[in-house]
Amino acid sequence: MSFYNLFKHYSDFDFEKRFSNVNEGDIRRIISQEVVSRDDFLKLISPKAQPYLELMAKKARALSLKHFGKAVTLYTPMYLSNYCNNKCVYCSFNANHEIRRRRLIENEILKEGDIIAQTGLKHLLILTGSSRQATPVKYIKRAVELLKDKFESIAIEIYPLHPFEYKQLIEAGVDGLTIYQEVYNEEQYKKVHPSGPKRDYIFRLNAPESACQEKISTVNIGALLGLHDIRKEIFYLGLHGEYLSKKYPDVEMSFSLPRLKKAKGSYFYNEINNKDFVQLLLALRIFLPFFSINISTRENASFRRHLIHLGINKMSAGVSTAVGGHIDQKGAAQFEIDDHGTVNNVKMMIREEGFQPVMKDWVRI
C-alpha cells in the first residue's frame, strides 16, 4: 500500500466534526499519555485546542529535550540553478517569469561551496528549480562530487526522482532528501500547478518513499502553509510522516513548516498567523516526538528565537535563496527571507537561549 491509499481514506473525512469536540480535559489527557494516536493528533490541531497552547508547549519542550537535548543543528541551502519547467503560482522561479536564469558551472559551485564552508557550516542543502533538462541527475551528481569534501552532510531539494536515480545520488554522497508536497489537497494541487511535470501529484507524493526504499539516511517533508486549509494540511503531513516512519524505521525523519512568503508574481497566499503556526508545530512535536523539526529563515529572527524552546531542532543560517547568492548578489531570489543573520549571528542567538548550536552531526562513511 502506498501513502496515496491511506491519504484517500481520509480525503472525505469530516474534520469539522472531529475538531468541534475538544475540551481542556482532552488536551490534559493527551499530554499525559506516552503514545499519542491519530485521533489525539486531530484534537491537538483543532481550533478548540488553542486556549491550551501553554500546556502543549510545555509538553513539546520536554519531548524535544528528551530526544534532541539542548541542541540545534545548523544547515544552509545552496541554489545551483533556477531554470524551471513549471508554473507554480506561488514561486518566483515560475517558467513564465522573466527573471535572470542561471545555472552554476563547476567553478562557481566550488567557489560558492568554499564561501559557505568558511562559515563553519557542515550540513548543506543543494537546490535546483524543477528542470530535468537544465539540471539533469548527472549535473546534480557532479555537484555532489564537487562539494562532498567541503561538507559532511549533503541533502537535496530538487524535482522528484525515480528510486534508481535516488540511488545514484546516494552513492555519490547524498544522505538527505527534502521534498515538500506543497499542498496535499489534490484539487488545490492541480490549481496551483497549472502546467509542467509537477502536475503529477502522485509521483511527487511517492518521492520520499522512493528515497526511503534506497536507504537514504534522512527525509524531510513539508507542506507549503498558505496554499490550503492549514489544519487539514498539517494532518496530512503528520499522516505522511507517520506512514513513512512506520514503514521505514531506519530513516531519520523530519518536518519543515514553510509558511508561504511573498514571491515575484505570487497572487495566491493566505497569511498564517503566529498562533496557528505555533499550535500546529506543537501538535506535530507531540504526535511524532522523534521527528526533527526544521525552521528556515522564512521566519524572522525574533520568532525563531522563541521557537527554539518549543521543539525545533534544526535551523538554516546564513541564507541566500538566489543562485550563486554567496558569490555575488546578481540572481533573483526564490522567495524573500526574514532572517538575514549571518551564521555567527544565529549561533549566538541559539547560545543566548541556552542551547548549543551544532555545526556537525553526521559522518560520511
Binding site: G69, S217, G354, Q356, M359, V363
Partner: protein, 258 residues
C-alpha cells in the same frame, strides 16, 4: 567481589562513565567530568569536527580521560565498522562503543548487527564496548566475538525510566564474566545506585546529567550514587525477605529427641 574494573587492559577507578551529547554548552562538559571524576567519556564521531573551522568537542574532554568514540548514526554492522576505523584513523584511540540502530523511534540497538561489528573490530584490535538489548544469548555471543564489556540498556535511551530491564540485566551479570556496564535509561542517581547494588561493574549516564538544570551538580550526585551502590554490593546487601521469620520454626523438631 572487590575486583577492579579493567577494560582493555586499563584499570578504571571511577565506575561512572559519561557522554557529551545533549548539552546546552560544550564548556559544561569539562566541568561535569571534573565534578564527577569520570575517566571514560563517550562522544559521537558524527559530532566530532576535525577541521579547524569550528570548536571541537575533543577540546572539552580532559586529556586524562579515555575517549570512547561511539558509532551513533550506524544502521548496519558495516557502517559501524567504517565509523570505528575513521575514528581510529583520526587519532581518537582504539576504544569504540558500538551503536547499531535502525529504529529511529525507540533507538533500540540491533543485537545481530552489533555482534557482527564486534567480531570484525575486536579482530582488528579495537577495545569494543557494544551497546545491546539485554539478552543473554547476545551477551554470550559478544563475549565470544571478543567484546571488552557488554553494555545492556536499562530502558530505551533518553527515556530516564530507570532499570526497566532489571531481571534480564541480573541474569547477564550472573552469567557473563566480562564487565557489565548498564547504559541508557538511567534517569536518577537512585537508578544508578541500584544497578551498582545489583553488581553491574559500571554505568554510563548522559541524558540525565546533560538535560538537568544543573549538570555539574547532577554529575556529582551520580558519582556519589555509583560509589554508594558499589560499596553496598561489595559489602553484600542483607537478604530481603517478604515474610516475617516464623516464631515457631518448622524444622525445630529435628533437634529434639522424639
Amino acid at each position: 567481589m572487590n575486583k577492579d574494573l579493567i577494560i582493555g587492559g586499563k584499570k578504571i577507578k571511577n565506575r561512572l562513565l559519561t557522554g557529551t551529547g545533549k548539552y546546552a554548552d560544550k564548556k559544561i562538559i569539562e566541568k561535569v567530568i571534573d565534578a564527577s571524576n569520570c575517566e571514560v567519556v563517550t562522544m559521537a564521531l558524527r559530532r566530532v569536527d576535525f577541521d579547524k573551522t569550528n570548536e571541537n568537542i575533543l577540546d572539552y574532554i580532559p586529556k586524562s580521560c579515555t575517549l570512547l568514540p561511539n558509532t551513533s548514526g550506524a544502521r548496519t554492522a558495516d557502517e559501524a565498522v567504517r565509523i570505528a576505523r575513521l575514528s581510529r584513523a583520526a587519532d581518537c584511540g582504539n576504544w569504540v562503543k558500538i551503536e547499531v540502530i535502525s529504529d529511529m523511534k525507540y533507538l533500540l540497538p540491533d543485537n545481530e548487527e552489533t555482534i557482527k561489528a564486534t567480531k570484525i573490530l575486536a579482530d582488528e584490535g579495537f577495545v569494543v564496548l557494544p551497546y545491546m538489548n539485554p539478552d543473554l544469548y547476545t551477551a554470550r555471543k559478544l563475549v565470544e566475538a571478543g567484546a571488552a564489556t557488554v553494555m545492556p540498556l536499562g530502558a530505551p535511551i533518553g527515556t530516564n525510566k530507570g532499570l526497566k530491564t532489571e531481571e534480564m540485566i541480573k541474569i547477564i551479570i550472573e552469567e557473563i564474566d566480562i564487565p557489565v556496564i548498564v547504559d541508557a535509561g538511567i534517569g536518577k542517581p537512585s537508578d544508578a545506585c541500584k544497578a551498582m547494588e545489583l553488581g553491574a561493574d559500571a554505568v554510563l549516564v548522559n541524558t540525565a546529567i546533560a538535560t538537568s538544570d544543573d549538570p555539574v551538580k547532577m554529575a556529582k550526585a551520580f558519582d556519589l550514587a555509583v560509589k554508594a551502590g558499589r560499596i553496598a554490593y561489595e559489602s553484600k546487601l542483607g537478604e530481603m525477605s517478604n515474610q516475617a521469620v516464623a516464631s515457631s520454626p518448622l524444622t525445630n523438631f529435628l533437634n529434639e529427641a522424639l
